[in-house]
Amino acid sequence: MSNSTMEGIPQAAARPETEARRARLSTLAKAPAGRLLALWSGWLGGREMPAHDVLRPPEIGTVMVRGRAGATGAPFNLGEMTVTRATVRLAAGAVGHGHVQGRDKDAARVAALIDALCEGGEADALETAILAPLRAEAEAGKRSRLAKAAATKVEFFTMVRGENG
């Protein structure tokens, strides 16, 4: 397949910290906004939001989703999806980028804050409080659909007809 020819940025040999950040940002991007905000406020536990500058205020936009002709051939434009992004810098200097599917500006800002806090050394605490639960819930949702799909799998049996059976 030709999926190896990613356009744009050359795919850097993934360093572990790059891979960790990639996984974290992917989890945050796909999380339902309501769950992300609930886990975040649980983590804050009544504390103030960490002091930060907003480098890029939350902005709603789109990403053109592409497919391939015949699943493996020439790329084509399938249609757009909504995405919201934000960038913040903590008082201590760490910069965080948040991207979330959909149009929730609070979720984009919180995703950026979580990214910045992780970059600033709080990755383990946030992994336990927010990222692991989000991943577990996403996995459970996916397993539940796959289980229902599995129950609709056809088990063929053959009826023997005629004399030579």
């Binding site: 030709s2 999926n3 020819t5 990613m6 356009e7 744009g8 940025i9 795919q11 850097a12 993934a14 790059t18 950040r21 990639r22 940002l25 992917s26 991007a29 796909k30 902005e59 936009g61 789109t62 990403v63 053109m64 989703v65 592409r66 497919g67 391939r68 002709a69 015949g70 699943a71 493996t72 051939g73 020439a74 790329p75 084509f76 434009n77 399938l78 249609g79 757009e80 999806m81 909504t82 995405v83 992004r85 980028h97 991207h99 979330v100 599917q101 959909g102 149009r103 996916k142 539940s144 659909r145 796959l146 289980a147 229902k148 799909a149 599995a150 129950a151 609709t152 799998k153 056809v154």
Partner: protein
């Protein structure tokens, strides 16, 4: 010709106020929420996302509510909203082979790795009205779960490709042409055609596909595979220098396997039609695959038999229901001056003709 005429403001304001009231309907009946539309009219939402060319179920549900259930009007609202948003970039092409499938069936191979998975389908229902749904508040029992297998679900066309029995998919440009950024222009290459088809009107694409089955450009399709499920969308983030998964979308994919006896330029082998559409949109995806295949006659060295579905200009120029509606409905707007000149003209010609007849009669 249009001439600005003032004086309709009050009538228009009152018309809009009445529209809002009619939209709400009988206030004794509970108002619909966006979440109710999103969850309970999901296939309407899917259609609006596919033809609006914007994946956002909440927005599509809002558009359906605002449009009073007129889906083409809802598509129009989504298209208009989309133009107000900046575009952050384009995704990597999605990997439908890695789809988490709700449904996956093949009409060509009974026993295939991953099996035939029916999913939440209308197929095999008896199409009898279910009056139990008219009684509200009934609990719906949770559907049975099975043991999900970890078997991959490879594409059926992959099996045929291994034996060279199906025409390979050529690579294309990394950046395909985009008809939201440049006007539709001919000749339209396959990526551009696929973009136009996937956002085209479902009814139109269905009828075009049906016409090929009835003999107008027949190409003997089998549904090699139909799959519906969730794929992740990845995009490069320039400020990070790597790609992240930016979200997930539900897609319907249809791959047809078509008979082909070979041509001047191609050896005998199967050929392909391809449909890929936002949401659970099975009728549209199958239709798209048939029309895609019909439009490929030239690159496959087939004869143009003059069938409508083989005519790329005809199909692509008429597939878009927002464009079609705009042009069709504009004729109901005031054309007073246009018509006034027509009226003058016909009166004059008529008077001349009558005068001529009168003179002939007199002679």
């Amino acid at each position: 010709m249009y001439v600005a005429v003032k004086g309709g403001e009050r009538a228009i304001d009152n018309a809009h106020a009445w529209l809002a009231e009619e939209r709400r309907g009988d206030t004794e009946v509970a108002e619909l929420s966006i979440a109710q539309i999103r969850e309970q009219l999901a296939l309407a939402v899917n259609r609006v996302m596919a033809e609006g060319s914007l994946y956002d179920p909440d927005l599509a549900a809002l558009a359906i509510k605002q449009a009073r259930g007129d889906l083409i009007e809802a598509v129009f609202l989504i298209r208009a909203y989309r133009t107000t948003l900046p575009r952050f970039g384009a995704s990597h092409p999605v990997d439908t082979g890695a789809m988490s499938c709700d449904r996956r069936i093949s009409a060509t191979f009974k026993d295939l790795p991953g099996g035939q998975v029916l999913g939440p389908t209308f197929d095999y229902t008896h199409r009898l009205l279910d009056f139990a749904l008219a009684a509200e508040g009934l609990d719906v029992p949770e559907a049975e779960g099975g043991a999900p297998s970890d078997t991959q679900m490879p594409h059926v066309t992959g099996f045929l490709a291994r034996e060279d029995l199906i025409q390979p998919e050529p690579e294309g440009a990394d950046t395909p042409r985009d008809l939201t950024r440049e006007p539709l222009d001919f000749p339209a290459d396959r990526p551009l055609r696929l973009q136009a088809l996937t956002r085209g009107d479902e009814g139109f694409i269905l009828s075009m596909a049906y016409s090929t089955q009835r003999g107008y450009g027949r190409n003997h399709p089998f549904v090699g595979e139909l799959r519906i499920g969730t794929v992740t969308v990845e995009m490069d983030i320039p400020e990070l220098g790597f790609a992240i998964e930016i979200g997930e979308v539900v897609l319907t994919e249809c791959e047809t396997v078509n008979q082909f006896t070979g041509s001047k330029t191609e050896p005998p082998q199967f050929t392909r039609g391809y449909g890929l559409v936002f949401g659970q949109t099975e009728r549209k995806a199958i239709s798209m695959a048939l029309v895609d295949r019909a439009l490929r006659w030239e690159e496959l060295g087939e004869d143009n038999v003059g069938a409508p579905a083989q005519d790329a200009e005809f199909v692509l120029y008429h597939a878009d229901n927002v464009q079609a509606t705009g042009f069709l409905e504009h004729i109901k707007l005031p054309h007073y001056v246009d018509f006034q000149s027509e009226l003058e003209l016909i009166r004059r010609i008529r008077a001349e003709a009558m005068a001529g007849q009168a003179q002939e009669a007199a002679e």
